[in-house]
């Protein structure tokens, strides 16, 4: 991978991070290609479309609100990036923190595939990442 293309991946990663921190679902989905897929480790047989992913994000806001990203670490790789972070949010039962790993594949200026790893024992029901 050339330095120029790695710069391109870095730009996509920065745009993705900003979109996630904004909690604007349209802005988040705007980082994905139309045929992108989103996969979760706890539902390995399923791949979600951007439309389905948007619904998941919107649904999350009803039970896991004021979401914020903590300790975000991004590693670039040839063809995409890896993001480690902890998603913190408020629930009716108090503040919940759930660490996660996201592996993103990038083509051009968009993300073509996302694979996310969570521990479902600490993912609030109905949260953004609960499928």
């Amino acid at each position: 991978m050339t330095e120029a293309s790695l710069d391109g991946v870095a730009a996509v990663a920065r745009r993705w991070e900003a979109a996630c921190r904004s909690l604007d679902s349209d802005r988040i989905i705007g980082c994905l290609t139309d045929d992108a897929t989103v996969w979760y480790n706890f539902q390995p047989e399923r791949r979600h479309s951007p439309v389905e992913y948007r619904a998941i994000l919107e649904n999350s806001k009803t039970t896991f609100y004021n979401q914020r990203y903590l300790d975000m670490r991004v590693h670039l790789h040839a063809g995409g990036f890896v993001e480690q972070a902890t998603l913190e949010g408020d629930t009716p039962n108090g503040v919940v923190q759930t660490p996660f790993l996201l592996v993103a594949s990038v083509a051009g200026e968009k993300i073509t595939r996302i694979e996310e790893y969570f521990d479902t024992t600490i993912v609030p029901q109905g949260s953004s990442r609960n499928g």
Partner: protein
């Protein structure tokens, strides 16, 4: 992207799957930090090697199936299906991803991401 980190990880995991603890140890920095998402705390190298030995007592078979390694700016990420067969007949078969930070030819940090309930069959605390 430098593939050297992934080669170290490949050889480290080869040693782990071969149950060769001294060979594993040789790939790890003395300052190693291990973290598991389902436990939420870090472990030292000595602690890690302790529960690797415990794990090998109960695991009849351990495999990283369909492993994909990706070189990153800091080391390597491996995604695979963790398959374990336990002495009591229990089975673990779950997606797992591991982020390795590699520096100066040694693995310095290992962050493991697994869905906690998928590991319940092992009874291993670590």
């Amino acid at each position: 992207m430098d593939r050297a980190g992934c080669e170290i990880v490949r050889r480290y995991n080869e040693a782990w799957l071969a149950r060769d603890l001294p060979a594993m140890d040789a790939f790890l920095g003395d300052d190693l930090v291990l973290w598991h998402n389902h436990i939420g705390r870090t472990f030292s190298k000595a602690e890690m090697m302790g529960f690797v030995a415990d794990a090998l007592d109960v695991l009849v078979k351990v495999e990283f199936r369909d492993a994909v390694r990706t070189a990153t700016s800091a080391g390597c990420v491996q995604q695979h299906r963790l398959f374990c067969q336990l002495a009591d007949g229990g089975i673990v078969d779950a997606p797992q991803a591991i982020v390795y930070i590699v520096r100066d030819g040694r693995i310095r940090r290992i962050d493991e991401y697994t869905d906690g309930p998928a590991l319940a069959a092992t009874g291993i605390d670590g």
